[in-house]
Symmetry: D2
Subunit: 339 residues, 4 copies
């Protein structure tokens, strides 16, 4: 960490600041320039509160040199984290495929869709029982009734399930859920992250719509610091000025994250683009760029979907998407789904 | 609402779509152009799910004509909502001032700061017991211990208090809090909004860092639809590419919101800018632009603040800021704080 | 085009507006709702000035139904535009590769680099003689001296060259340049676009850092409307809040543009990411998503580069990148470069 | 400037880098931490190319400590720059008001509008002869014919005029123009900035739609470095996700710029908001926040305006806006316009 002092900072105040910092087991090296004096902090600085230092009258600015996350940092844990769920391992170099409808609507819908995505090569099932909707007047999901239907689909297919937790008050209902999803709008719901840090289930943590990669990793660090190391990161598009797509899928986040952290990275092309015709090319791009997984919306009748139908593939189109991705995977030595 | 159909949409499918819509008590007027056919929907369309319609094969796009919010819409409730808390009314044309430290740290700190902001003309007190921090290693607030200290400050000053709720699990602790704050990161924590809709206390709802004014109003609509109409909106800066300020305070949101909704609008220049020297000019600008209130961070010793010291005013500087704002207010016929 | 009128718009003013519009050979269909009246405009509306209509007192808003661009619109020209330069055709389904240094620095550097990228499979050469730099104190390029060196590289390799035009005052120097590049910062330099519309050379038009796809197409329309139909669009990353990459490469812009326009789309992973280690995965992703070309920075000694060395590949690394892209191309039936 | 080296950077390579830097008359202070080594550069570093250093294999990152601009930096020139035009001084603590139509349309329109804004207290006139329009099919301005009409208005009113230069090819037509405006889309048209650096007229430099304050100052530095120190900066709104306003007026840019630079800062609320009803509150906010000037669109018949009518005030409304701003100015000791 580097502290840049204001010109003419009184020596006694600088000394006071240095004493406070050194008391935290940090060494300080002072660099005096013509216009500026810099303090270089040496030691484990990731717990130092940069804001408290910036508040000092004599400080012009503070710049971090090391990343502010430690547990999820690849520098301190070079090997990939592997997450085993049922017969699938996420993070081992292959591409896990999670598929299913945006919302769970009826028993017929969820079971039929899940059977078809399994047949097409999906490893895990996705489906929403509690739905975050911008409008209070939109369909809010079937809630615990939806979860029960989803468990039937789990039983029918034998595949593990992923679904979103919107409130800690619901967590007891998630006993048989295999991966708990934290949605983009809850990425910085820090109380939820703290609780999930105490939980034993893998967490699928979605990047917030306007959050940086570092903020995503800091939210993962909340879970990690609580003791739960089974974290899957999910790039699902960020908000930009572009209106042709719902959000902009940040494909470069895949190799960036793979370099910064040992956690697996999956990609959600359905929410990112909001348009079914873009799901296939974006899935192919994600595989080419090194994603550990894909999470794709499939509905057995998109036109009747109660939510996000415009971005859902039909099972047939999903099959074609899987084939294309598997072809890309084949030249890279990666298995895509169960294909 | 307007539905733009794809070229060559089969007549029978268009008829089917029209029947579904008409069954919701909506009339349809069809406009046929050279390249496009448009359906104009007439009636109360705010509960129609635009996404479900966009998912139809024959639909090119859907455009709303009416706002998707109704309860908080000024069109249906032209008079300003007035919110009475203690001796203060928010929304009556004056400028209510809420002041206090970012975090509650010690009994001395909170009581001393609050006494001083009262003396300088504040109407209400702010202070954080539960703090949303990007890093799990940063100070997280004193929690319920902090709330107890804040209640002592309430008693000592006789002023009402505002503090942030970060989890519904804490709500029982908020019995003596006067206004519950929903932070920017929880603006779309829809489960929290639903619960607060059932609550009787006024809610201070902060705009999310990358959220639009319409999304803010839709979140307010969640609370309103639950039955709680005492909602105060707060503009606190939005994320932009600018790095000289922590966020960019959207001053134009004040007159825009005042036109769209009957709810009062307060402004937080401290979090928006992140720099104490910008708080005074931005407070003055907010008063000039028509804000119903200001929420300002004041610390009796900013350099020792455990959080956000860089943006906190000293009580003395706060006094000067109040004077300047009162001067602006005076030419506009607005009382600022108790001045 | 749809005009939404204000509630209680006086009938005579509406009639006046309708007359003005109808005089432009447009038919109007009026739709009256409970709260709103809508005018549906039927005919060729792309030359109607939406802003002039929005300025009318009686108008609440105006919404376009058709795209505002016509010449570059795939709806009116379904076949791909093919651009022939030397032995290469851009837009025919293969992936053209343009490679070379950011800046032309010395004869040795440009010729050596160009010979090596040719050997590795590049179809065309890139190199900057006039460089847009944020700081007036940074290296500004060798100017016409640089162009002369680049022409030597063209002769030595027999490959066509692409280079950026920063001012119309330089255009006479570009007589032997094969493709003229318009940089991101000049995407809305409309006077330049108008002039290039009269020129016979192909134009490589880069998307602005914060511009939408529609704005890119409107800038292309400026060139097209002037008579020059040989336009190559270039996605080169957009500005987002992410700081791990210089910009965010919008891979989804590739399939979106391919659907909206008949013009070819190339991708610049070097400027988009600003980091050499991301160029290979992003190139692979771009090929997988359907790009018509890649434009990649290669320097024979990146550490000595006078500009953008951090994002330049070595010739060796470029060779490996070409191999990986060719593998992806092979499963999609696309030739990548001359491989 | 601070250079952060990669872990395990070979000593001989570090020594080589240091030699190159020291040859530029810079001293280096090395700080060795547990995980990181930092080089602190002491001396005048604003001409050092950070990108060239970042390209070195052994360098992890480079961070500037000093601002990269020098001529426009208030640190090296603490007094305000004053710009005299006719009877008006911009930058002296008062608020200069520039008003007039977006586009010059007819002799009657420009002279009538200008006479009325003069009567209402404007100091200078604005009007567009060359108009940057997103669409090639929109009205592009009257060009040199428009300039001639504007000069008639100058003569009729005796007030100085401001108008936009879109191409250096037009500069000879600007001989009698008092202030040359560089539009937002040309803020980084570096060739234009270099030429204007050689010119003797004051330049009104608008901030680009997605540009930072530092980038604006670097563009001003281009002009300053060329020898022209008469630069007026203009905040005119930045692109954000908000759609209720055309752009988001960054009012906080006013005090930020006033602290960083000695150049005057004017504000354009008309283009920023795109809505006439927001011009008055935003003008008042700008005055309250310390702006040196306002640039406001006024049209004698906004509904007939050929461009941007929706954001133009009538002369009557402009008069009311001036009165409100003058009231705000009065409590701050600032004269607004000629009032």
């Amino acid at each position: 960490m580097i502290i840049i002092l204001k010109k003419n900072a009184p020596k006694n105040e600088v000394d006071d600041l240095c004493k406070v910092i050194e008391s935290q087991n940090i060494k300080i090296n002072e660099v005096k320039g013509a216009h500026t004096t810099i303090l270089g902090l040496i030691g484990d600085t990731h717990k130092i509160d940069t804001e408290a230092i910036e508040a000092q009258e004599i400080v012009e600015s503070v710049q971090r040199v090391q990343e502010p996350y430690k547990g999820v940092n690849r520098k301190f844990h070079p090997e990939n984290t592997l997450i085993d769920i049922g017969n699938t391992t996420i993070g081992n170099g292959d591409v896990a495929v999670i598929a299913g409808p945006c919302s769970i609507e009826t028993e017929e819908q969820i079971i039929d869709t899940c059977m078809q995505v399994k047949a097409a090569g999906a490893n895990l099932l996705r489906g929403g029982a509690f739905k975050p909707r911008t409008s209070p007047y939109s369909f809010q999901g079937l809630g615990d009734e939806g979860l029960k239907l989803f468990l039937k689909a789990k039983k029918a297919t034998g595949l593990p399930i992923v679904t979103e937790l919107m409130s800690l008050a619901h967590i007891d209902l998630f006993a048989d859920v295999d991966i708990i999803q934290v949605g983009a709008r809850n990425m910085q719901n820090f109380e939820m992250l703290k609780e999930l840090g105490k939980c034993e289930k893998p967490i699928l943590l979605k990047r917030g719509l306007a959050n940086t990669i570092e903020e995503l990793l800091m939210s993962a660090e909340y879970i990690f610091a609580g003791g739960n190391t089974k974290i899957i990161l999910c790039e699902r598009g960020i908000r930009t000025f572009e209106t042709q797509t719902r959000n902009t899928l940040d494909i470069s986040a895949i190799p960036v994250l793979k370099a910064l952290t040992h956690l697996p990275v999956v990609v959600d092309p359905s929410h990112a683009t909001g348009k079914y015709e873009l799901v296939e090319p974006m899935s192919m791009a994600a595989v080419a760029a090194g994603a550990d997984g894909l999470i794709i919306e499939v509905h057995n009748n998109p036109q009747k979907a109660l939510c996000d139908g415009a971005q859902s593939l039909t099972p047939k189109h999903f099959g074609s998407c899987m084939d294309k991705c598997a072809q890309i995977g084949s030249v890279l030595g990666k298995k895509v789904g169960t294909l």
